[in-house]
C-alpha cells in the first residue's frame, strides 16, 4: 500500500475542484439555500436530462411526452420555483440572479437545451417581475409556482415572445410588427384590446399557458409600444405554431406561434394611465426588455462556461485510457497509464480549455452576484428619487448628470460622505453592470464556443459521435445558439461600445489596474501584472482612438465605426474575464483554509488555479496587444515610395557626400532607415517604414507587456503536468 501524500505532493493538484471549492470561489459558501439548489438541479441534470440525451431525444426537434416529463422534474426539484419569492411559492429569499446562474450552470453541464427550457419560464415571467403591477406579479408568479404538497394544481408555464420583424428568426427590438388596438371601450370601464402577434423561435411555446408579448400601437388611442400578457383561454387565436426545425437545444420546446386575441387592458405589463382619451402604458416595450435582458443574458453566458468545465474530466479520462485496448500496452507502462497525456500538446490544449472555462465562469458569476447586489439598491434608489421629486424626461436626465458628477467626486475621494448615498452607489454599480452583462454574454459564448470546438477536437473522432462522454459534440453545437439568442454578439458589442466609455466605469477600471498591481506584488504567479499592463494599454488605446482620425480624416471612435468599437469591446472582455478569474482564486486562497474539508488539497489546488490564471492572463494580454496594435496603427496609411513619403529617406548621393566627412555613416544609415539609390531604386518592400510620431507611449507599453508574459509558459507547463497526475473519478457520473 503506498504511503499518503508527501509534503511535496501536497502542493500538487490532487483532485478536480469539488463543491466546497466552487462554493468559496463563487461566493455562496454561506448560502445553504443555494447549495441545496445546486444539488437539486444537479440530480435532475445528471439523471432525467442526461438519460434523455443518451436515449437520443435530441434527434427529434418536437416536444415529446418524454421531454415533457422534464417539466415535472423541474417542478419537484425546485428549479421551477427558483424565480419566485417564498410568499409566491418559491423557497429562496431575496434576489435570484446567482441562484438562476447556478441552475443554468448545473443543467448546462449536461445539456444547455434543458437549461434554456427551464429558464425560459423565468424569462416569460421576468417582464412581469421587473415591471408588472403588484396584481400582475401576484397573479402570474403564484400561478407559475409548483403545487405545494396536497395542492391539486398544475403550475402555469410561460413563454416570452419578442421576435420581429417576420419572417426571420431573431429580433430588431426597434421594429415591432405585432400590433395592438382598442376594440371596445365601455363607458367608465376597462378597454378591450385586440392583439395580433407572430413569433419565431419562441421557447416553451409547445406548452405555454401564457405569453408575454411585445407589440406596437395600431390605434391613435394607444401610445407607442408595450408588452402585454396573453393567455391560452383568451378569445381568438392562440396557435402554438409549428415546431422550429432547430439543430440544437432540442430539449427545449421551440415553435413559431400566431396570436390574434382579445384581452383586457389590465394585461398591459406595468399598467397604464389614460390621458386625454389615450392609453399611455407606464413602460414601453424597450423599457421592459432592457430590465429583463440585462439580467437573463448572464445566465446564458454561464451555460457555455459550464460546458467548458464539464469537458475537463471526460477529456482526461479519454486521454489516459486511449491506448488501453491495445494488445501491446500493459498496465504499468507510460503508454497504458498516461495514454495521450504523454504528449505535451494534448495537455497544453486542455489547459487552455480549462483556463477559459474558469475565466468565463468567474466572469459570469461575478456578474450574477453584482445583479444580486444591484436589485435591492435599484428599488431603494427609485424610492429615494421619487421622494426627491425626480420624475421622467428631461428632469431625470438632469438628475442623472448630477448623480454621475457626485459619483465621480466620490471616486476621486472628494466626497467620502457619499459612501452611504444609495443613489450614487447604485450609479457606480450600475455602470459596472452595464459592462459586465454584455461582456459575459459576448465573451463567454463567443470565445467559449471556439474553445468548445477545441475540447471536441481533443476527443478525436469520438468527439463528434453521439456516444462521446460528456456529450461534448452536442455542447459545441449548442454553444452557437447561446452566442446568438437573447441578443447576438453584435448587439452585445454595440452595447459595450457605449457603456464601456461611461466615465464612471472608466474611473473604476483605472482603480482595478492599481488593484491588480497590488495583487501582482502579493501574488506574483497570478499573471496580474501582465493583465494590469494590458488594461493600461486598452485604456490608452481607447483614449487615443476617441481623439484620433483615420488616414482620411474620419473619426475613429464612432458608433457606426464598428471595426473600432467592436474590436475594442472584444478586447475589454478578455480583460474582465481574466480579472474575475484572478479574484476568485484569491478568494479561494483567503477563505479556503476555513473549510477543513479543503485543508489537504488546498495548497495544490490554489497553486494549479493560479497557474491557470497566469495562462489566461497571458492569453488576454496577447489578444489585447494584437487588437490594440491593429487599431492604433491600422488606420494610418502606409507610406509609399513617392516624393512625399520619401522626404525622410536618405538618398545615396547624400550619404556618399557625408561619408567623406563622417566615415561609416553610409553603412549605419542603411541599417537604420530607408535609402533611395541614385537610379531611384530602393529596398524591395511596401514603402518606407511607417513612423510612429505620438505613438511612442504605445510602443513602450507594448514592449513592456510582452516582457510581462515572462513565466506564463512555465505556468502552462506546470498546469499541464498537473493534468497528468490529478485523480479523476473512475467513471463519469452521468447519465445516472
Amino acid at each position: 500500500m503506498p504511503v499518503a501524500a508527501s509534503e511535496k505532493q501536497k502542493d500538487d493538484l490532487q483532485a478536480l475542484p469539488g463543491d466546497e471549492v466552487r462554493q468559496v470561489m463563487w461566493r455562496f459558501a454561506g448560502r445553504y439555500d443555494l447549495q441545496m439548489l445546486v444539488q437539486s438541479a444537479r440530480e435532475v441534470a445528471r439523471g432525467p436530462v442526461a438519460r434523455l440525451v443518451a436515449q437520443g431525444a435530441r434527434a427529434d426537434h418536437g416536444w415529446t411526452p418524454a421531454k415533457n416529463e422534464l417539466l415535472k422534474a423541474y417542478d419537484e426539484s425546485g428549479i421551477t420555483g427558483v424565480f419566485m419569492d417564498p410568499e409566491q411559492g418559491g423557497f429562496i429569499e431575496g434576489p435570484k440572479n446567482l441562484a438562476l446562474a447556478l441552475v443554468a450552470f448545473e443543467l448546462a453541464w449536461v445539456d444547455a437545451g434543458a437549461a434554456t427550457g427551464s429558464l425560459a419560464g423565468c424569462l416569460a415571467l421576468a417582464p412581469i417581475h421587473e415591471r408588472g403591477t403588484a396584481e400582475q406579479q401576484q397573479t402570474y408568479l403564484s400561478r407559475c409556482a409548483p403545487a405545494q404538497p396536497g395542492e391539486a394544481r398544475l403550475p402555469w408555464r410561460g413563454a416570452f415572445c419578442l421576435t420581429e420583424p417576420i419572417p426571420y428568426v431573431g429580433v430588431d427590438t426597434g421594429q415591432l410588427g405585432g400590433k395592438v388596438r382598442i376594440v371596445d371601450w365601455p363607458e367608465g370601464g376597462e378597454p378591450v384590446l385586440q392583439v395580433e402577434k407572430r413569433g419565431r423561435f419562441i421557447t416553451n411555446m409547445g406548452f405555454a399557458n401564457f405569453v408575454t408579448a411585445a407589440v406596437e400601437s395600431d390605434d391613435p388611442r394607444i401610445k407607442g409600444t408595450l408588452m402585454v400578457i396573453l393567455e391560452e383561454g383568451d378569445p381568438g387565436t392562440f396557435d402554438r405554431g409549428t415546431p422550429t426545425r432547430k439543430l440544437v437545444h432540442q430539449l427545449s420546446s421551440t415553435c413559431d406561434p400566431v396570436f390574434n386575441l382579445r384581452v383586457p387592458a389590465s394585461r398591459i405589463i406595468g399598467g397604464y394611465d389614460v390621458r386625454d382619451g389615450v392609453i399611455v402604458p407606464h413602460y414601453n416595450h424597450s423599457e421592459v426588455i432592457e430590465a429583463v435582458f440585462r439580467r437573463t443574458r448572464v445566465t446564458v453566458g454561464i451555460m457555455t462556461s459550464a460546458k467548458l468545465l464539464s469537458a475537463v474530466e471526460p477529456v482526461i479520462r479519454y486521454q489516459r485510457s486511449r491506448f488501453r485496448g491495445g494488445a501491446a500496452t500493459g498496465p504499468g507502462s507510460p503508454r497504458y497509464d498516461l495514454g495521450l497525456q504523454m504528449k505535451e500538446d494534448v495537455v497544453h490544449r486542455l489547459v487552455d480549455v480549462w483556463a477559459t472555462g474558469e475565466a468565463s465562469a468567474s466572469l459570469g458569476f461575478e456578474a450574477a452576484r453584482l445583479f444580486d447586489r444591484l436589485d435591492p439598491m435599484e428599488r431603494l434608489r427609485d424610492r429615494v428619487l421619487a421622494e426627491r421629486g425626480v420624475g421622467g424626461g428631461m428632469a431625470a436626465l438632469r438628475a442623472r448628470k448630477q448623480i454621475n458628477k457626485d459619483a465621480l467626486a466620490f471616486l476621486c475621494g472628494e466626497r467620502p460622505e457619499l459612501a452611504d448615498d444609495v443613489v450614487v452607489q447604485t450609479a457606480l454599480l450600475d455602470s459596472i453592470a452595464n459592462v459586465l452583462c454584455p461582456a459575459c454574454k459576448l465573451w463567454n459564448t463567443g470565445v467559449g464556443s471556439r474553445m468548445m470546438r477545441e475540447a471536441v477536437s481533443l476527443m478525436g473522432g469520438y468527439g463528434i459521435t453521439e456516444d462521446c462522454p460528456g456529450f461534448l459534440g452536442y455542447k459545441w453545437m449548442d454553444s452557437q445558439l447561446e452566442a446568438t439568442y437573447e441578443g447576438p454578439e453584435a448587439v452585445q458589442r454595440r452595447q459595450l461600445g457605449v457603456t464601456m466609455t461611461d466615465d464612471l466605469f472608466l474611473m473604476q477600471f483605472r482603480g482595478w489596474i492599481r488593484e491588480l498591481r497590488r495583487v501582482a506584488n502579493d501574488h506574483p504567479g497570478t499573471g496580474a501584472c501582465a493583465l494590469a499592463t494590458a488594461m493600461q494599454m486598452w485604456m490608452w488605446t481607447l483614449e487615443h482612438l476617441r481623439e484620433s482620425k483615420d488616414a482620411d480624416g474620419a473619426a475613429l471612435y464612432h458608433s457606426s465605426r464598428q471595426g473600432v468599437t467592436f474590436a475594442l469591446a472584444d478586447a475589454l472582455c478578455w480583460l474582465l474575464a481574466s480579472r474575475a478569474q484572478i479574484q476568485d482564486v484569491l478568494e479561494l486562497a483567503r477563505m479556503g483554509p476555513e473549510n477543513p474539508a479543503l485543508a489537504d488539497g488546498l495548497p495544490g489546488l490554489v497553486s494549479f488555479l493560479t497557474d491557470l490564471c497566469h495562462v489566461q492572463s497571458a492569453h488576454a494580454a496577447g489578444e489585447v496587444g494584437r487588437i490594440c496594435a491593429e487599431l492604433v496603427f491600422g488606420y494610418n496609411r502606409h507610406p509609399r515610395w513617392g516624393e512625399q513619403d520619401c522626404a525622410a529617406c536618405y538618398s545615396a548621393t547624400e550619404l556618399e557626400a557625408w561619408e567623406s566627412l563622417i566615415p561609416g555613416i553610409d553603412g549605419a544609415a542603411r541599417g537604420l532607415t530607408d535609402v533611395v539609390e541614385n537610379d531611384g531604386s530602393h529596398q524591395q518592400k511596401a514603402g518606407p517604414c511607417a513612423r510612429y510620431e505620438g505613438l511612442e507611449p504605445f510602443q513602450r507599453m507594448r514592449t513592456r507587456m510582452d516582457g510581462c508574459l515572462t513565466g506564463s509558459r512555465l505556468a502552462k507547463d506546470r498546469a499541464a503536468d498537473a493534468l497528468t497526475t490529478v485523480m479523476i473519478p473512475e467513471a463519469a457520473d452521468y447519465p445516472r
Binding site: 500500500m1 503506498p2 504511503v3 499518503a4 501524500a5 490532487q14 483532485a15 469539488g18 463543491d19 466546497e20 445553504y32 439555500d33 447549495q35 441545496m36 439548489l37 445546486v38 444539488q39 437539486s40 440530480e43 422534474a73 419537484e76 426539484s77 425546485g78 420555483g81 423557497f91 405545494q148 473549510n595 477543513p596 474539508a597 479543503l598 485543508a599 489537504d600 488539497g601 485523480m727 479523476i728 473519478p729 473512475e730 467513471a731 463519469a732 457520473d733
Partner: protein, 270 residues
Amino acid sequence: MSQPFHIVVCGSIVPDPLQMLEPVTGAAGPALKNEMMLPAVLDPWAAHALFEAAHLAAKHAGSKVWLVSLGPKAKLQQVMLTVAQKVPFELVALDGPASGFCDSLATAQVLADAVAGIPALNRDRLLLFGGWESASRGAGSTMQIVAERLGISEQFQGVDQLTVREDGSMEILERVEGGRHLVSVCSAPPAAFGWATGHLPEPRNNPQVGMTNMKTIMPALQRAKASAVAADGLRFAAVNVPKLQRQTRVVKDMPPEEIARELVAWIREK
C-alpha cells in the same frame, strides 16, 4: 389508534463510489487517498434506513425521525445539502472520523452515547435504524453493538420490510439464504433494525423539505461535539482494493444441471 414512534437512524458518509478509491498509509494508519477532497454521499445502506424511517413516521402521526451521524463536520454539511432535501428529520451531528478503517466497537460506543443523549427521545417507543452493511466497511457489527449498549434486545438484521400491524406489533422480513425472507413478529418497541435495501425508491430532492430541515441541521452542525473514536490495540495487517476478476467461457447448449454443478464446484474452490 397507532402510537407514534421515535425513530433514530444511525448513518454516516462514504466517498462517492464513482471516485477512484485508493488505500494509502497515512500518519494515523490506513486511509483513502485524498479522502477529504472526494465528494461524499450518505452511506447507501443507512440511506435506505432513513427513507424507510421517514416513510414509517409519515404513516404514524406524531412520530419523529433523528439521524445520528458521525463524520467530519465539514463533509457532513455537504452531504446534508442533498440528504436534507429527501425526507424530514432532525440531525444529531458528531464531529469525528467516518473512515472505513475505524473500529466498530469504538464507533458504536460513540453512537450509543449520542442516541442516549437525545433530550426528547422516548426510549419506550424507540426504533433504532441503521444499515445492515456499509459502503465503506462491511463489519456488520456496529448497529448490533449500538443496540446492545442501549439495552435493546430485539434486533433484526438484513431487513427488507417492516409492517406495523393493527395491534401495534411489527412484522419484519429479514433476508436469509436463497433470496428468501425470515418473517418475525416483534410485539412493540424498542427494537433495532439493520436495513438491507428495503423497497422504497430514493425520494427526489425537494428544496422545500430541505429548507425546513436545514433550519435545524445547521445549528446541529454548529453544535457538533468533537468525538474521538478510540483505536487502542487496532492494527491493520493489510488493506487491498477488491480485485475485478472476469473469466469468460462461451459454451453452447449446456444443461442447467451441468451449469449448477460447475457453479457449486467453483464456489467450493473459493
